[in-house]
């Protein structure tokens, strides 16, 4: 029975250590995942690092792929969030697309994003070779 007690004590120490790591780890990895409306409604997510999803608005879209930046409106059903993104812009990024941005709200009310993902609802949308080549050629031109 002595060994059982030792096992329990050893196990308890490891569980405590893991628990400590897990709690502090949750703090450093914690990211809210909300839509634009929830985010702008001043919930717990506002002011902290968050992933926000919405649709890219058609107005005031400033895109510069080579300079690795994009400024655009992220639109929800009732509200809009201005996003300033720096980084590689995904190929599929365009107005009307569902996207997810990750970052934090700046003092000027603009959301500073360092992650921009296009939600890929249709990986297999076939559009025929001609359309494909045209698009590739266009993006090269």
């Amino acid at each position: 029975m002595r060994s059982i007690r030792k096992q329990i004590i050893g196990g308890a120490i490891i569980i405590a250590a893991v628990g400590y790591l897990a709690v502090t780890g949750l703090g450093s990895g914690w990211v809210y995942y909300v839509d634009v409306d929830q985010y702008t409604a001043q919930t717990a997510a506002t002011g902290r690092r968050a992933r926000v999803f919405g649709v890219v608005g058609g107005n005031a879209l400033e895109l510069n792929r080579a300079n690795l930046s994009a400024r655009f409106d992220l639109v929800g059903s009732t509200s809009t969030l201005r996003v300033d993104y720096h980084g590689a812009v995904p190929e599929l990024f365009q107005s009307g697309r569902q996207v997810v941005v990750e970052g934090q709200l700046g003092a000027d009310g603009v959301f500073n994003a360092d992650v921009l993902l296009t939600k890929c609802s249709s990986k297999y949308e076939g559009h025929g070779r001609a359309a494909r080549e045209a698009r590739a050629a266009e993006s090269l031109r």
Binding site: L21, S28, A66, H127
Partner: protein
């Protein structure tokens, strides 16, 4: 109509697997080996039916029979033959069919490997496997039909997702599924054995081999998947803590623990509860992972989307959990240890510690993966945890487990003499210290990295010292030369030395992971032709952007020169490919690998017809060590499984027989493990 044949095969598989399950139950209940012989035949029939279904789907893909929804969704005329084969498992239904087929084949092989005389004892374990086969057959027939016929008649397919068009993607899924399917066997042997009131060393010996087979497949599958992500996804890393990746890591962690715990239970008669629990947990986690990624409960970049398949797996998951919980409770007497684990510095003590740490890693990974679900239920907004959580929690535990490997060659069952331990630790500590010092000289400062850098050196030194010791002793006793002795010593215990080789692989992988994650650097720049960026002391010049047309895609290609003014300038060509059948552009990264570091260059954007291009360059130190380490892990596992090569040495064949009588009488091999059977 070829699809009818496939559906018919699946229906036959449902019948055969259900019948084999009933036959196993009858055999177990009546103690009649005759029913087992029938069950065995039915299991072969099940495997055959699944193979027929696979063959039908393969034929449909080959002939581009677009009337089948699966073919229309996953193939097109531009696919080469190898990728038409890969399309077999690139989608939901096909991959489940592959899993089912592997599981059924393994069941049949396992049943035939069980000698006829002892078949009766295996009724419950084989019945468990038959039930799993029946589950898959029902799932495929009703939940995820690969032979569904589309209403209209599509004239062309949608093609295979271009990112999957890579040779690693042809073999990565079958390896993973073989791992998942394989872990069902130790689960069935151990939990089924407990259910039939049998739990002995013979069973554990068989379970151990199957665990190693499953572990090998899963290890190779995970490593290839990581490598594929690294070369194909173009974001610079190989592991993103994505739910799908975690789903394969969790059973790997518990499976690794199982692999180390079974022999302890078998030889020493302790940690039997751990063995049973880990066998159950590993199988259940294989299912949990599948449930997570196929039910749509968690968002993942690779997930298959919402589907009813998740509900099927939830049923299997519940059944497996209830069954294993029940047999472990009912068989708790059998799981009681014959003796205690007295010393933490014994083989059983360190195994117990490693079990705790590996299970903690698995638990933390599971918690992180499911966190959005928990938080969504408990809070008003869903919270996900990013890589920060895993790096903070899982990584330190991983380093702790890896450190335990250093003393592995010294350990025996029962307490170790402190003098042996102190002497034995000298080589690893000295080697590890030197390696860390060398890393400091080379410029590394991160304490975590230094610990990781010390690891493989320490493992290697400990292993080398142990081999040298054994070989010298053997040579002295037998009179063989050193190389002949070394061959004989290593050949005499494949499990031991295969295990150590795998440990060395883990050490290399750990230092590779630490180097590539802690010491990497990253520069993104927009360059005009002739412009340069600098990373890690080397220049990269952008020469031009051009358009390339190749099979099935059009690519924009940046032509870059590395070290343009150096002695050996080299040209690299990262691309962005636009496949004819896909929406997304796919990055084709240029990677230059040396043993010290990878130079990883991606083209991420451009202006006009090449007036400027955005280039991302990364230096990922020591990345190739990860792949080398994974290779060693697989090699070690294969060596453990391989049969003895040299004939068993007979004392009279020794060149020299030592004077002392007991040395010539006994097997002179310096076995460090006293083998005691429970």
């Amino acid at each position: 109509m070829i699809a009818v044949v496939g559906s018919f095969a699946l229906a036959a598989a449902v019948i055969a697997s259900t019948a084999s399950m009933v036959a196993c139950a009858l055999a177990a209940r009546l103690g009649d080996a005759g029913w087992m012989v029938r069950a065995r035949g039915l299991m072969s029939a099940t495997a055959l039916m699944f193979m027929v279904a696979m063959g039908v789907l393969a034929a449909a893909l080959w002939r581009l029979d677009f009337q089948l929804e699966y073919v229309a969704d996953h193939a097109d005329a531009s696919l080469s033959p190898a990728f038409r084969l890969a399309a077999l498992w690139s989608g939901q239904q096909g991959s489940l069919l592959l899993w089912a087929t592997i599981a059924a084949v393994m069941t049949a092989v396992f049943a035939w490997m069980t000698g006829r005389a002892r078949l009766r004892d295996w009724g419950v374990p084989l019945g468990v496997l038959a039930a799993i086969n029946a589950f898959f057959a029902v799932l495929l027939l009703f939940g995820a039909d690969p032979f569904a016929v589309s209403a209209g008649l599509p004239m062309q397919g949608r093609g295979l997702n271009p990112q999957l068009q890579h040779w690693a993607m042809i073999i990565h899924p079958p390896l993973l599924f073989a791992g998942y399917a394989g872990f069902a066997v130790p689960f069935a042997i151990i939990c089924g054995g407990l259910g039939s009131r049998r739990f002995d060393a013979d069973q554990l010996a068989i379970a151990q081999r199957w665990t190693l087979v499953a572990w090998l497949f899963l290890t190779a599958g995970i490593a290839l998947g990581a490598w594929w992500a690294y070369v194909e996804l173009g974001w610079g890393g190989y592991w993103a803590w994505d739910p799908v990746e975690n789903a394969s890591l969790i059973p790997w962690l518990t499976g690794t623990a199982l692999l180390h715990t079974i022999p302890v239970s078998r030889h020493r008669g302790v940690l039997k509860g751990w063995t049973a629990g880990l066998a159950a947990a590993t199988f259940i986690f294989c299912i949990v992972g599948t449930y997570i990624t196929r039910s749509g409960v968690i968002e993942s970049v690779h997930a298959f989307g919402r589907s009813p398949v998740g509900n099927y797996f939830l049923v299997l998951l519940t059944a497996a959990a209830v069954f294993s919980g029940w047999v472990m409770f009912a068989g708790r007497e059998r799981l009681r240890a014959q003796r205690g684990v007295d010393s933490p510095l014994s083989r059983e003590g360190v195994t117990l510690l490693a079990d705790l740490l590996l299970v903690a890693m698995a638990g933390a990974t599971l918690l992180g993966t499911l966190f959005p679900v928990f938080s969504g239920a408990a809070l008003t907004t869903a919270v996900s945890v990013g890589p920060g959580f895993y790096n903070r929690v899982v990584s330190p535990l991983g380093i702790a487990v890896a450190t335990a490997m250093v003393i592995a060659p010294l350990l025996v069952y029962g307490p170790i003499a402190s003098r042996t331990l102190k002497l034995g630790l000298i080589p690893p500590v000295a080697a590890g210290g030197s390696a860390a010092a060398m890393a400091v000289v080379l410029g590394a400062r991160s304490p975590t990295f230094l610990i990781c850098a010390a690891l493989p050196a320490a493992v290697l030194a400990g292993l080398a010292a142990s081999i040298v010791d054994s070989v010298v002793t053997y040579a002295r006793h037998t009179g063989f030369g050193i190389s002949a002795s070394a061959a004989r010593v290593i050949d005499s215990n494949h499990r031991r030395y295969g295990g150590h080789l795998a440990h060395l692989g883990v050490g290399l992988a750990v230092v590779g992971i630490a180097g590539s994650s802690l010491l990497s650097s990253n520069v993104t720049a927009t360059l005009e032709p002739g412009g340069e960026l600098e990373i890690g002391g080397r220049a990269i010049r952008f020469d031009q952007l051009r358009e390339v047309r190749a099979g099935g895609y059009t690519a924009a290609e940046a032509v870059l020169t590395v070290d343009p003014r150096g002695p050996a300038p080299t040209v690299i060509r990262p691309q962005r490919r636009f496949y004819d059948n896909a929406m997304d552009a796919v990055a084709e990264v240029a990677i230059r690998t040396t043993w010290r570091e990878d130079l990883y260059v991606a083209l991420i954007g451009w202006e006009g017809a090449g007036q400027s291009a955005a280039i991302q360059a990364r230096i990922n130190p020591l990345t190739v060590w990860i792949w080398a380490g994974a290779g060693l892990m697989v090699a070690g596992g294969l060596f453990s499984l391989a049969p003895r090569i040299l004939p068993r040495p007979r004392p009279e064949s020794f060149p020299k027989i030592e004077a002392s009588p007991e040395a010539s009488a006994a097997d002179p091999l310096p076995h460090p493990l006293p083998v005691s059977r429970p």
